[in-house]
Symmetry: C2
Subunit: 91 residues, 2 copies
């Protein structure tokens, strides 16, 4: 398992993303980044808070990045907001 | 107008929060913090990105904080995620 894990948050129940992140931490990752776009951003924030609660304060927030990206076919593109929430295991 | 403005993001159209934040900057605030809970978190991120685009790179992200708070009547409380997105005017 790599040092930095990534979880892409979409439309599944938030528990599936919490499980994915916790699994990456327990398998040895020191950092896990939750990535989401558009309406899934709220779910990514929920997942991050649940991971912190689940791991009982052993995980802190690292860098939180907000941005935008273009989605859709050329000529019909639209801009959607993005978030990257870095969770870091405390030493 | 105080140095630090605050915009609470709820269920209105995102444009109303963009306007509120831009107005605070143009009236002299150096920092504006967008605050949101639950599903409005995605809208707050959208608003922050739109403010940055609208003000043409004159505004950067400062501190972004994620947390939780309890809502609802005593005994029927539930925990909801929160976000605070600080936008800072470049000198």
């Amino acid at each position: 398992m790599s040092e930095v894990g990534t979880v892409f948050v979409g439309n599944k129940p938030v528990s599936s993303y919490v499980l994915a992140a916790v699994t990456q931490f327990t398998s040895g990752s020191k950092r896990v980044v939750l990535k989401a776009r558009g309406r899934a951003i709220s779910r990514a924030v929920d997942a991050a808070e649940l991971v912190r609660r689940f791991l009982g304060g052993k995980v802190d927030y690292g860098n939180i990045k907000i941005g935008s990206e273009k989605v859709g076919e050329p000529g019909k593109e639209r801009t959607v907001s993005t978030i990257e929430i870095e969770l870091v295991k405390k030493e």
